[in-house]
Symmetry: C2
Subunit: 203 residues, 2 copies
């Protein structure tokens, strides 16, 4: 399982055998069942999680009592609450498995030590964070400049496989509208999704 | 002017004399007048900009023809369009001086060379990006879970000096509402801003 992380790191930097050994010592492979939590509100986030297989989501409960999904992590993505991880303050977020998943966990303390032992890992995380930050800026722009329907259609065009994979109520939460609205636009003839897909959105 | 950048870097990592010399060789100090552009749409973003003094904003024109401010950069903040900077694709953004400003510009090519010559700068930029990404996640949460008025009041509480410093129409754009709405809530008795402040919002 950790080999998928090594392969991902090697896309950005070159690890030698000694570096790989350090990464393997630092990382912990865990298996999480669908709906299992890696983090819940009021807990301190202690690890950064790399998705080796499966899907994880980060969300909070808004004051209307609804889940608001901030982020999905699928294969080769890191997911964490950086705010809580860095400051040691309790998190406001849930991190939960959407599917049975294989996760590589890097504990904050171990991660800090790894960055000292293998300084080139700073470059890897700098590049990862740059990509994440760029994606978050782009997402923010979409929220400010697209209609709900446009945002949906663009997301489907960009990530067709992913849209088929997750419960539709989660997709609605991520894109910022109601499951009812999502059902409505999925039913339209120009919809790019499969209209015959009757997946239970609450499964 | 470059000393302010050196001081900022030294808050995160320790530069020795040789490192400082490399940073000084790589960085270019520029002075920009209020309203001057560092980037405009269809141009490729070539540099990352550190604000030594003044204030810079990053914005795009939405399809209603209105400015949507994505980010402000004040003293000790970096501002760039990472998407264009990394991919070499034309930007959709403007980067413009809100005040007469002193900027340290690091050209992409020079920055890449600096990261090879002084690898510990990877750590500095990793930490900077982590802060920026955390702030962007937090901002996204506020947009999804706060009313316009709450968002305004929280921003004023967090950055009282900054609110007095920028034109109010820019603050409205950044916070995602109209200048009219901003005037209205600023006039309320519970407003934490100075009601007697009659700054022309379009100055």
């Amino acid at each position: 399982m950790i080999d998928s992380l090594i392969a991902h790191i090697n896309k950005f930097i070159s690890l030698d055998e000694a570096d790989i050994a350090e990464v393997k010592t630092s990382a912990k492979a865990i298996v999480v069942k669908k709906k299992e939590f890696l983090l819940q509100p009021d807990e301190i986030c202690r690890s950064n999680y790399f998705v080796s297989k499966g899907c994880i989501r980060l969300y909070f409960i808004n004051r209307s009592g609804q889940e608001q999904i901030t982020m999905f992590g699928i294969e080769n993505w890191w997911i964490t609450d950086y705010d809580s991880l860095e400051t040691g303050k309790p998190s406001q977020y849930y991190i939960q498995a959407v599917e049975d998943s294989e996760i590589i966990s890097l504990h904050k303390k171990t991660l800090d030590e790894l960055l000292v032992k293998v300084p080139k890992m700073e470059r890897y995380f700098r590049l990862i964070l740059q990509k994440a930050y760029t994606a978050s800026m782009r997402r923010f722009q979409y929220f400010r400049d697209q209609s709900d329907e446009e945002r949906y259609r663009q997301f489907v065009a960009l990530f067709p496989g992913f849209v088929q994979r997750i419960p539709q109520y989660m997709l609605a939460s991520y894109l910022g509208f109601t499951p009812q609205f999502l059902s409505k636009i999925r039913g339209k003839p120009e919809s790019r999704t499969r209209n015959q897909d009757n997946t239970d959105v609450n499964s």
